[in-house]
């Protein structure tokens, strides 16, 4: 949380420096210092973002792993559902065979 706040404030700082740099003439005596500050702050922001993006990747990996597990439950259910129509088919076959056997006996 603290890290998030620092990054949020750094982002605002970079945005303000950027706007100030754009609005300042290159002939201004402070332009060079402004440019250096903006570049350093922007580099720092970029590297903090890199870390945050890589760290957040763990959440996505965890999601992928767990949702794959959950999706397997549907496969299991599909197999059970397939068994229902199979039972009806088998019952039909049994009746068919029984009918033929009875026909021979009679």
């Amino acid at each position: 949380m603290a890290n998030f706040q620092i990054n949020g404030e750094l982002q605002l700082f970079v945005e303000k420096l950027s706007a100030l740099k754009d609005a300042t003439s290159v002939s201004d005596p402070d332009y060079s210092a402004l440019k250096d500050s903006y570049t350093a702050a922007s580099d720092l922001l970029e590297s903090s973002q890199e870390k945050a993006i890589t760290d957040a990747g763990i959440e996505y990996i965890e999601f992928s792993k767990k949702i794959k597990e959950a999706m397997l439950i549907f496969d299991e259910a599909d197999k059970k559902i397939a068994r229902i129509s199979k039972v009806v088919k088998i019952a039909a076959q049994v009746i068919d065979i029984a009918g033929k056997v009875i026909a021979k006996v009679c």
Partner: protein
């Protein structure tokens, strides 16, 4: 008939089907648009970085052998980090996750709508044909047709029951995961949070800044001026994309959150509306059509 009706009560209600459909669409839309944005975002960042390095007239510093990194890797990671913070691996992880989100949404809808009705009807027909062929079969044609209808109805009810059982296991398990991926996606697509979009924003701002600086100064060749103008235009284009797509994706995330919460509610609390009662009545009518020939017999 009483047994059949009591099993029917254990099937999916139309409210549940409706929520599943809404959820499936929301998950699918968000999954697809996020995937596109992750991939396009990295490509745009690489493009913007190329322009920036060209405008800054980047010159590689002398190689430091004591860094322990091979020269090519050293220059790439330290000086030419073209994809900024959007490493291929970080993007691949996200693409794989949102792809699974999309698949889950589609699977949920398919699982609910594909009722296996044809398969059961074929089996029931086969069953009825076998009864016809049975030697000294005492049943009339109406009774045999009715038997087929009963087998189809009961088979369908059992299938619905199995589906509901599976959904009752999966939905509560996945629901917190959906909330979590919504949090992660919000962090990545909200330009105020520290994620993918803020990184693209930082890269576009830096490119715009160097381009504006170059354009403030006179001189340079026409091709160098064009490079500055193209760089500035590219940064502006990306800024526009971020503004437009961010609000759209954040809206989709909000929709998915809502659909997720409603789906969980409707699955857990077995909510039944008027439509469900009507649907239930239609199912019972189908079943009684099959039973009718037997009632007239006794």
């Amino acid at each position: 008939m009483v047994i059949a009706i009591s099993i029917q009560g254990c099937g999916l209600t139309s409210a549940q089907r409706k929520e599943i459909e809404i959820f499936g669409q929301a998950a699918s839309t968000l999954g697809e648009s996020s995937k596109d944005q992750f991939v396009a975002g990295r490509e745009n960042v690489i493009d913007m970085k190329r322009y920036r390095l060209a405008i800054e007239k980047t010159v590689l510093p002398p190689y430091q052998a004591d860094s322990g990194i091979p020269a090519r890797d050293y220059f790439f990671s330290k000086n030419l980090n073209l994809d900024a913070s959007l490493d291929k691996n970080d993007i691949d992880i996200r693409v794989a996750a949102v792809d699974l989100l999309q698949q889950y949404g589609k699977l949920l809808v398919a699982f609910t709508t594909d009722s296996h009705e044809n398969e059961i009807k074929e089996s029931a027909d086969e069953f009825a044909k076998s009864v016809v062929k049975f030697h000294h079969n005492p049943m009339t044609t109406d009774e045999i047709d009715g038997l087929g209808q009963i087998v189809t109805a009961v088979g369908g009810i059992l299938v619905e029951h199995k589906k509901k059982e599976a959904l009752e296991k999966v939905v509560p398990k996945v629901s917190p995961l959906i909330d979590k991926i919504c949090d992660s996606l919000e962090q990545d697509f909200d330009p105020k949070k520290n994620g993918i979009y803020t990184n693209i924003n930082t890269v576009q701002d830096r490119l715009a800044s160097v381009a504006i600086e170059g354009l403030k100064l006179p001189g340079d060749s026409m091709s160098e001026r064009l490079l500055l103008i193209d760089g500035f235009a590219l940064a502006e284009k990306n800024k526009g994309i971020l503004t437009t797509t961010s609000s759209q994706i954040l809206k989709s995330i909000a929709s998915l959150r809502k659909a997720n919460s409603q789906l969980l509610d409707v699955i857990k609390n077995h909510k039944v509306g008027l439509k469900d009662i009507k649907e239930f009545g239609e199912d019972v009518a189908d079943l009684s059509k099959g039973i009718k020939p037997y009632i007239s017999r006794f």
